[in-house]
Symmetry: C2
Subunit: 367 residues, 2 copies
């Protein structure tokens, strides 16, 4: 467990205000800056701390070296029926993915669905933010992104894939929405960083060393090791996790005109993209299906309520740990953090204070 | 390994002819009978023996007790934009899923995509057959189905989900297509049956007994045990496999008007569907995205060739086991079996001979 006194709590609205000021200072237009802060705060509220304001200083460094364009001129490359592709002009994904999702959502009423690929983009925050935009349209939202290569394919020991998340958001009526937002690797990078900081071993199945041997040492990732696809090994069905991750790479990278596989640019400013790139930046895929092409939305949402209720009531292994629904923990965390504030690690706070000082703005007070 | 002399080889065309005769004898129209045999032979050719002609006698028993309707009147329930839902009138999925996919494919040219839900259906064979129909349309095909409950959710020990497969088929140019066709459980039922027959232990992570304890005894499944979702346990990311399986159940069952979760009807004739069903039969979801709404198909397929080539050339752990692409083993098996025949287990042959005799037709000769 994290040690409580390493954390301070901050009000979500105040933090949102601070983060948007930083993006403004970095050259973003006011509405883009607000959008970026909103996506990051959404991650912190949902408890996905690795994708929240902890990322801000990293983004700033990418802006500083010109890899993220604060004033992008996003262009529609192709737009036929339900499908569309856009070139994000090196925008941050926090801006380009909502732009792309809006194009898709605009098509729901007439065509019943919309899907947009994005190339020439950067990190897009939590996948759930984008897919969940569909919920208020009585639609099922979908989002994926490729990411810096850290994961080996089944049978391989070369970094060929990112943690490549898939998100699906499905509305219900009285129940909370079903929101599956999962990396296609067994474990996300953030879990290894925490274990590394605490000098703890990690479970077998998360990581292999550079020679392709399973390892419990989280530091092997920094030593040219690889994260493993969901399934971890042959008996565990690693070819399935590899296949899912490949799907994300094909939709986000190959189909969009972005880079794919080992060419996906690194998220960190101190590593340069490798040469002979087959595309532009990294890529995403977002979209939605309107429910009313299949079924009356009211009927569907009542059926989802029934589905959710039945699963939550199914027999648990341990009565203290009931069966839950994808997105339930995150939903509860959001209620908690809206009330009690967002906990930030002292290292993240120090980072944000340095950023504030360098941009001649003030950091906020603890809640 | 299987023992070679337990198998006899049969010519794919002759087997196809025999199987279609059986369906005709069971009351199917000629074209539906041919379609059914084609889907089953496609499974055998691709090496998915569990979903090929080995299923024929089971289907016949479901026809005999009236659960599969040999002369269905399939109805379109709703058809708006790219989306459609059909009631299969208790058709076998081997018939209803191609019917639904044709509706989806017809929409590609005008709208760039098409998706159809199917309720009141039965087992649909291999998911890949349906998704792969999109390949010749320069489209990406997608198919999923829910299935008899055998799998527990994360944290649970109750059978709430089927092995619920997801299939994605993506065309390339010179390379073979990318065809991911995966059960969302760690292992499919067929693997347990083989281990059981051979009195072998299975790897930890495939199965839990009725008390929720991991088990290496394949017979625990018949003793009220559960298959495990991909990821197998908490450290392995079982919540992800559960989430994927739930996705399949929601698209195939909740969205279609079919049954879902524990109410999905069993595939076997000796078990009755449970009472108070929330829908009709079991359900599928099929569809496709046209590539040219995103990118020139020629460009995309060249990029897929490049993607596939790069992955196949990536560094393997063991040089004798190169990295492969989803669908590659099945593609190679098809070439082999078209040439050398389809191997059928002597038990399956005995089953088919009984069927032939009861329907007053003749079985075919070995190749």
């Amino acid at each position: 467990m994290e040690i409580a006194n390493e954390y301070r709590h901050f009000d979500a609205n105040e933090l949102n205000d601070f983060v948007s000021r930083i993006f403004c200072e970095k050259g973003f237009g006011k509405s883009d800056a607000l959008l970026c802060s909103q996506v990051l705060i959404a991650a912190d509220l949902r408890g996905i701390d690795s994708h929240g304001v902890a990322r801000l200083s990293g983004y700033c460094r990418l802006i500083d070296i010109g890899r993220i364009n604060p004033k992008p001129n996003i262009k529609v490359l192709r737009n036929k029926g339900i499908n569309c592709s856009i070139d994000a002009d090196a925008a941050i994904g926090l801006v380009s993915a909502p732009f792309a999702m809006d194009i898709a959502l605009d098509k729901l009423e007439i065509m019943g669905g919309g899907f947009t690929t994005i190339c020439n983009s950067n990190h897009f925050g939590i996948a759930a933010y984008h897919a969940m935009k569909a919920l208020s349209f009585d639609a099922i939202g979908f989002s994926m992104t490729n990411a810096s290569p850290l994961v080996s394919p089944a049978r391989g020991k070369e970094r060929m894939l990112g943690t490549n998340p898939i998100c699906l958001a499905v509305p219900a009526n009285l129940q909370i929405p079903f929101v599956l937002d999962m990396a296609t690797s067994t474990a996300a990078n953030g879990k290894l960083e925490i274990a590394s900081r605490k000098k703890q071993e990690i479970p077998l199945g998360w990581l292999m060393d550079q020679n392709g041997h399973a390892s419990v040492n989280p530091n092997e990732l920094k030593n040219k090791g690889n994260l493993l696809p969901l399934g971890s090994d042959k008996d565990g069905g690693v070819h399935k996790g590899y296949g899912l991750s490949a799907w994300v790479d094909i939709f986000s990278g190959v189909l969009s005109g972005a880079n794919y596989g080992p060419w996906v640019p690194p998220f960190v400013s101190f590593l340069n993209p490798i040469a002979n790139q087959p595309g532009k930046g990294l890529g995403h895929f977002v979209g939605a299906w309107a429910i009313d092409g299949f079924m009356e939305p009211k009927t569907f949402k009542a059926r989802m309520d029934h589905w959710i209720k039945r699963f939550k009531e199914s027999t648990p292994i341990d009565t203290h740990e009931p069966v839950i629904i994808p997105g339930e923990l995150e939903h509860n965390q959001q209620i908690n953090r809206l009330k009690n504030g967002i906990p930030l690690h002292t290292e993240v706070i120090a980072d944000l204070k340095v950023l504030a000082k360098s941009l001649k703005t003030t950091f906020i007070h603890e809640k």
